[in-house]
Assembly symmetry: C2
Homo-oligomer: 224 residues x 2
């Protein structure tokens, strides 16, 4: 007979194994933005449908995502346990102990990450002041599924075209899908080069939502 302790470790290990695959972590990050069809998730991650479907089922069995049917599509969204918290702990551990992670981030974004990001708490305070403009650089459909209240949505691809919408005299805080989402890093780089006063939010939308802070929905995008 197996001891209950060993069985519990086995349960923990099973969950950890589910997170032990890059593709699944990527799917999870996309699902954390809001409900998405298998096809869309496959597209976003560059996986084949069948492959994405299989990974999503593994994630579902472990409770990291839930699914529901809508007509002929299957929609996956984040599960309701403390998933974001677990991913956050993993990220923090990785940042602490893997030089590679810090290295990749700073090599690739050449030093941008060293420009002190804004914490969630600090942002909340400054939003009350009105001393900051909040910029969501995710694609429109992700924005529509949920965003920080009062955020202006300019997808990264449209940024050049829509510079006029951004103030030069107020500080901008950009965010996107999560702490390692490339979009906000690049938005900061691009806008900073053009003389804007812009910082990056430390986290992304899923962390904000998981913290129980208010979330805006489609249609209330702030326009200047």
């Amino acid at each position: 007979m197996k001891s209950p302790k060993i069985e519990i470790f086995e349960q923990f290990a099973e969950l950890a194994r589910v997170l032990g695959q890059g593709n699944r972590l990527e799917l999870l990050e996309h699902a954390a933005q809001g409900e998405r069809s298998v096809e869309r998730l496959a597209q976003l991650t560059g996986l084949s449908m069948a492959n994405a479907s299989q990974h999503l089922q593994v994630l579902r069995r472990a409770g990291f995502v839930r699914s529901r049917r809508d007509g002929k599509r299957m929609l996956y969204r984040l599960g309701d346990g403390p998933v974001i918290e677990l991913l956050g702990a993993l990220r923090r551990y990785a940042e602490h102990s893997r030089a590679e992670v810090r290295g990749i981030v700073s090599d690739y974004f050449n030093g941008l990450d060293s420009l002190e990001p804004v914490s969630r708490e600090a942002l909340v305070k400054r939003l009350d002041d009105g001393s900051v403009v909040l910029l969501d650089v995710r694609p429109e459909d992700e924005f529509a599924l949920g965003h920080l209240p009062g955020a202006l949505n300019i997808p990264f691809a449209d940024l050049e075209r829509r510079l006029a919408e951004l103030p030069k005299d107020t500080q901008i805080v950009a965010y996107c899908r999560g702490p390692y989402c490339v979009l906000s890093f690049e938005a900061v780089a691009a806008l900073r080069a053009k003389g804007y006063d812009i910082k990056r939010l430390e986290d992304g939308f899923p962390e904000w939502k998981a913290a129980g802070l208010p979330v805006g929905v489609a249609g209330d995008s702030r326009l200047p």
Copy 2:
């Protein structure tokens, strides 16, 4: 060229994979009690030396443990990143979303866990009051490597023999290796049956230490 994002996910996944194995989690819990030789760890987990050694090296590569040589033994101890925090997040997620975990715990300890454990914070307060006796039921050698300050060490195996050392008029709080360590569950069961007023500490020694709280070392065991 791989995107940096994918590479970061790959890094995270690699760490998660290391935790994705029951034996390694068990080794990790034992290493979290203090420095231990490979032989001892193999003994404690029931693995062969070679196997334990290999798992320990996997854990070390991921930074979850560190090792140092002492004569002809190799001593492994917990790494210094936020390892306990990550394991805690994994545990909390498991408790939330896996009925199995809750089931195993409550089936096996038939309802004992429902006897509200004492939180770390509550314990700190009550230790100041002096309204509680703290009981460490781990083996002597683990106690010697570190324990909560003022704790009385009676290894679970000696409990019957040393009942006289325990007060009947003061509440006892028992703890051991971690939230799922069998020892404290069973100590509570045994002593409760004999009429003692005893509760379980929610966490174990590693969590206490990781929280930055003071730790006692060999020789200051409190005697009645």
